[in-house]
């Protein structure tokens, strides 16, 4: 089984994959509890616009994806607070709009090929050394933020108004949370793919919630599920030449179904 690690690309894929599992599952706890699940999906599609621009203009798609995803996260927060529109409707508009823009950019630039396919569904072959360094450094900063403010973010998720009346800077932390989630999503699309990263963010937490334990244990269980599904999914991807994002997401869905059955009331 371990011969897959003889290859440099597998080592890179595992380093980034495991790192993304940690980032996605920990941020996923706040995303799910804040009822932002659809937002992760929307930001993943927005990141695809960045990928398209990067591919067509010749820039590193990862960096452009990070910038566009952050821009989209801020736009969503602004629209939600400035106009009393239905939140899910805003997300649906930006999600489909982003996908449409990405497809048009790629079509006009003639880059609609395997390269884009790997960003849509993830590919363990596509992770470069530069990607590993970017993901580890930027991802570490995101992780520090999440851990540093985890208690405040948890309080906000529980009751935003009471958190506000306790002196917590709710608006500022909400803004930072969506920024960090946008960064994590953009970083993850190399391995998991933009169409599937939302699942790696949301499903481990939803599976962990079935065990009905406190916040700390929920976070640890979701982390374990995410790590397991990335290891299992990437191994399947290697041995059966399947897109890594799809195998990872199917692994976590199986874990979710098992959790649901075990904990059925």
């Amino acid at each position: 089984m371990f011969e897959m690690f003889d290859y440099d690309f597998m080592q890179r894929a595992f380093v980034t994959g495991l790192f993304i599992a940690v980032l996605a599952s920990i941020s996923g706890n706040f995303v799910v509890l804040r009822r932002y699940s659809l937002m992760s999906e929307t930001l993943a599609h927005s990141a695809l616009v960045g990928v398209a621009v990067g591919l067509v203009a010749g820039y590193n798609p990862l960096w452009v994806a990070v910038i566009v995803a952050i821009g989209a996260a801020w736009l969503i927060e602004y629209l939600r607070s400035a106009f009393s529109l239905y939140s899910d409707a805003i997300l649906a508009i930006i999600l489909s709009g982003s996908l449409a823009i990405a497809v048009i950019i790629v079509s006009l630039g003639g880059a609609f090929n395997n390269s884009l396919f790997s960003y849509l569904f993830g590919s363990i072959l596509s992770v470069t050394n530069e990607d590993v360094v970017t993901i580890v450094i930027v991802g570490s900063l995101s992780l520090v933020f999440l851990l540093l403010f985890s208690k405040e973010l948890y309080f906000i998720a529980y009751d935003e108004e009471v958190a506000k009346t306790s002196g917590i800077k709710v608006k500022f932390l909400n803004f930072l949370l969506v920024t960090v989630v946008a960064i994590i999503i953009a970083l993850s699309i190399r391995v998991v793919g933009s169409l599937l990263i939302g699942a790696l963010m949301v499903i481990p937490t939803v599976a962990a919630l079935q065990y009905r334990v406190g916040f700390r244990n929920t976070m640890l269980i979701s982390l374990f599920f995410a790590l397991f599904s990335v290891i299992f999914g990437m191994s399947l991807s290697y041995y059966y030449s399947l897109p890594s994002g799809a195998t990872i997401v199917l692994s976590i869905i199986v874990i979710f179904i098992i959790s649901l059955i075990i904990n059925k009331k």
């Binding site: 405040e152 948890y154 009751d159 108004e161 009471v162 958190a163 009346t165 306790s166 002196g167």
Partner: protein
């Protein structure tokens, strides 16, 4: 009793939404150690007033001072414990033990970068003991009864050692027995811990012996310094706009 700087100093507060006057020319002071009940009809502006005191709504005009500071300059929010109306309506799937919730009360007090200190742990435990929920500390909040949840929320508010507790009818799903126990706890906190209490309630007759002043709010505020007298007069009927009367429970006379 002689009081010094008021906890809340409210002057000429007005709140107008889309041309409709919700609160009109509200002025009052609340001092340390007081127990004040707020009554009034639904839609009369009780919750709006509380939300303004907490900075959740901005008044159209007027001024609010907290502990002598203008609301926008006030930073010591841990001095105020707030229990909202929906406090007992807990999302059953939310991953929180009783201790997780009570610990939230320490966050504002300790600041962002500090970890949980031994003092924090002691205060959290103390709050759970006061509310008689220490035996429930590892239970998931979603599995508790309405009365138990109510005490958890008060414990969270108490964990920051507040000077004032503001409660907005946190009674949903709470049975009568738990409700009586809840009122007794509030009176005890006021008398023994000198915690100021500002309490929106419909059951003012039951707590009439405990409260010092009664605020009746229906767009305007009327302050009554003798709640028992107030409850027997016609103002209650005027306030609710129907032929209402409050039932006064003479609990200390039995």
């Amino acid at each position: 009793m002689k009081f010094k700087v008021p906890i809340f100093d409210v002057k000429k507060l007005n709140f107008i939404v889309r041309g409709q006057k919700i609160l009109s020319d509200i002025s009052f002071e609340i001092f340390e150690g007081e127990y004040i009940a707020i009554i009034g009809p639904n839609g009369g502006g009780k919750t709006t007033l509380i939300r303004m005191l907490l900075g959740l709504e901005q008044p159209t005009s007027g001024e609010i001072k907290i502990f002598g500071k203008k609301l926008k300059n006030f930073k010591e929010w841990y001095k105020i414990g707030y229990v909202p109306q929906r406090a007992t309506l807990v999302d059953e799937n939310f991953p929180a033990t009783v201790e997780d919730i009570v610990r939230m009360g320490r966050i504002a007090k300790r600041g962002i970068f500090a970890g949980i200190s031994s003092e924090d742990k002691a205060m959290v435990e103390d709050a759970m003991i006061k509310m008689d929920i220490l035996n429930l500390k590892d239970k998931m909040v979603g599995t508790l009864s309405g009365g138990q949840r109510q005490r958890v929320m008060i414990a969270r508010a108490l964990a920051s050692s507040p000077k004032i507790l503001i409660l907005d009818e946190p009674n949903t799903g709470v049975d009568m027995v738990s409700q009586q126990r809840f009122y007794a706890l509030l009176a005890e906190l006021n008398k023994e811990e000198n915690i100021t209490i500002l309490f929106i309630t419909h059951d003012v007759g039951v707590i009439a012996d405990d409260i010092g002043r009664l605020f009746t709010i229906n767009q305007k505020v009327t302050i009554c310094h003798d709640p028992k007298k107030m409850l027997s007069c016609e103002e209650v009927s005027d306030l609710y706009g129907i032929d209402a009367h409050a039932l006064y429970n003479h609990k200390h006379e039995h």
